[in-house]
């Protein structure tokens, strides 16, 4: 079971709600994967447009926990204000905190991120910070009051998988008791399985599912990969070695005197 703040969850796959071919496909993907947490956002809405109202009805019908984000925020002030607005609209203290520092890579501004996390944790938000694999930043986020960390695998939407294995493994080893969710950059289910095999607690995926030719089938594939990875981690994988070790017993081999 996955423990995120006060919530206990069965599914270790969190799903983003953007970029699907249609709302119906998003709903079907969430259901096919048995997802319990879906990320959402806030955007400007013209009066009478009501797109947001329709989207919010759809999400509520799915009966999932929502994780509002502060996507697009480039400063502490913007992120904190967006967090307050999200808490009112979505009725949750959960917050995926993003403070973007660079537009080409959508790399988190970790300085702004830790500052915004400190403010929001003190106000009672349960902050899920979208961060890098940097160990010292992780320390600062925990000191700010975060109880979950979401390091990136690779830049958002890049589909490259776990880019910096060494640092991600170091992060996992350094914080054995902190729930760590790989957020962003995964492309295929094997990336998700790998994250879970390495001991990460969950993954958050959006583009890899939403932009697949068949998002519903891909969501189900990610769900199975996450389950397989978690089971493999629990089963205790063997250590890699440099030379062969025969799997068939060598005692009693024929034709050898």
């Amino acid at each position: 079971m996955l423990q995120l703040y006060q919530s206990t969850l069965r599914s270790r796959l969190l799903l983003g709600s953007a970029r699907y071919p249609s709302p119906a496909v998003l709903s079907a993907a969430v259901r096919a994967a048995g997802v319990e947490v879906v990320t959402v956002a806030l955007r400007r809405e013209a009066a009478g447009e009501r797109a947001g109202q329709g989207f919010w009805s759809l999400i509520r019908e799915l009966n999932v926990r929502v994780l509002p984000n502060t996507a697009g925020c480039h400063s502490v002030k913007e992120a904190v204000t967006t967090a307050h607005m999200a808490r009112e609209v979505f009725g949750t203290t959960w917050l995926k905190l993003e403070v973007i520092g660079e537009d080409d890579t959508l790399q988190p501004d970790v300085f702004g991120l830790t500052e915004a996390a400190r403010i929001l944790c003190a106000e009672g938000f349960e902050v899920f910070p979208y961060t890098t694999e940097d160990l010292v930043v992780a320390e600062r986020l925990l000191a700010a009051g975060c109880r979950v960390l979401m390091p990136w695998g690779a830049p958002i939407g890049s589909g490259r998988g776990l880019n910096n294995l060494f640092a991600l493994q170091a992060l996992r080893a350094h914080f054995p008791a902190v729930p760590l969710i790989i957020d962003a950059g995964l492309g295929v289910p094997s990336h998700a399985a790998q994250a879970l095999e390495l001991g990460f607690d969950a993954v958050l995926v959006n583009t890899a599912v939403a932009q697949a030719r068949d998002p519903v089938q891909m969501a189900a594939a990610f769900a199975r990969a996450v389950e397989a990875g978690a089971a493999a981690r629990a089963a205790g994988p063997i250590e890699p070695r440099d030379f062969a070790a025969p799997s068939t017993p060598v005692i009693g081999t024929a034709f050898r005197s």
């Binding site: 400007r44 009066a47 947001g52 919010w56």
Partner: protein, 65 residues
């Protein structure tokens, strides 16, 4: 009074936020508001005065990753 609503200038009669939202046609929509970058909670809308040149943000739920 001229107010910037989600980045576009609008001419409004209402002098406070609740009335402005009504006048703009948001009615009972699930939206959250900020004036000049500061969050204004729903219960505070009726007593939040608007002035010429204010910047109003009206945000609604949307797909996000």
């Amino acid at each position: 009074m001229k107010i910037q609503v989600n980045g576009a200038w609008r001419e409004l009669r209402a002098g406070e936020l609740a009335g402005a939202l009504e006048e703009l046609g948001y009615g009972d929509s699930v939206v959250s508001t900020a004036v000049n970058g500061e969050f204004v909670a729903r219960p505070a809308r009726a007593r939040t005065a608007l002035s010429d040149g204010d910047r109003l943000e009206v945000l609604a739920p949307m797909q996000g990753g």
